[in-house]
């Protein structure tokens, strides 16, 4: 006997109401990062050792700021999804819940810090 409602079966989202969302988001962010990483590496190699004025001038360019913003947003989303799966696989019980919360908060905070930092440099350029 199937206790699932026909509508639920048609929607195909399963008991977690999530379906393939996690898997798909991980792939979408992976493709975004695969496209952005060559640019990021080229950018960071040029400016990693530069003085603060040089870094400000570089990130102050709207083109660079946009790509850097896209990179950090995709990066921390992808990191959150990936770390979540690793913890789901190997850690169970209360430590899992604590770690999952820590991962979400850390990735959210790192995103906010990056966005504010890039924004401050761009808008004061």
């Amino acid at each position: 006997m199937n206790l699932r409602h026909p509508v639920a079966i048609a929607r195909g989202l399963g008991s977690a109401k999530d379906g393939t969302g996690h898997w798909w988001n991980q792939r979408v962010t992976a493709v975004a990062l695969a496209l952005l990483t060559p640019w990021f590496v080229w950018f960071i190699v040029q400016y990693a050792g530069a003085d603060q004025a040089g870094v400000h001038a570089a990130i102050g360019q709207p083109f660079n700021a946009s790509l850097l913003l896209a990179f950090v947003l995709a990066l921390f989303w992808h990191a959150k999804l990936g770390l979540q799966v690793v913890v789901e696989d190997y850690i169970h019980g209360w430590p899992e819940i604590a770690l999952q919360l820590a991962i979400k908060f850390a990735c959210a905070l790192a995103t906010i810090v990056s966005v504010i930092a890039i924004g401050r440099i761009v808008f004061s350029a």
Binding site: L33, A48, Q52, I118
Partner: protein
């Protein structure tokens, strides 16, 4: 009914390492490492947007020998995770599922990761000099 403790399989410790398993484990390990690299990037951005002292501190950290060592490790992790990630995306659309292809693409990923990491540091050193 009391749950009986039964041995779980497979026993990773009795498996001899193969390129398939080692690269798979490495993909996870580099992914976890790169998450910390991302936190480092956020800290670097914050210091660049902050005071002159804050940026000077992060620049000194990054240019010290241990900082350079960490950056070198992150750069290899990034290149490996990038190329092996593309390998994963190829599998996702059904490409390269034959065993000989697994081995070929695996060795290709190692070669590309090593070469691109060397290229990055060649460019970085030449820029710094």
């Amino acid at each position: 009914m009391a749950a009986q403790e039964r041995p779980l399989s497979p026993h990773l410790q009795v498996y001899s390492p193969q390129i398939t398993t080692v690269l798979s484990i490495l993909h996870r390990a580099t992914g976890v490492a790169l998450a910390f690299g991302g936190f480092g990037l956020a800290a670097w951005l914050a210091s660049a947007a902050g005071s002159a002292e804050a940026y000077e501190t992060s620049r000194q950290l990054a240019s010290a020998w241990y900082g350079q060592l960490v950056l070198f490790a992150f750069s290899f992790c990034l290149m490996y995770h990038l190329f092996n990630g593309l390998r994963h995306l190829a599998w996702d659309i059904g490409w390269g599922f034959e065993i000989p292809q697994f081995y070929k693409s695996g060795y290709a990923v190692i070669a590309l990761a090593v070469l691109s990491t060397a290229g990055i540091w060649f460019a970085a050193m030449r820029g710094a000099a």
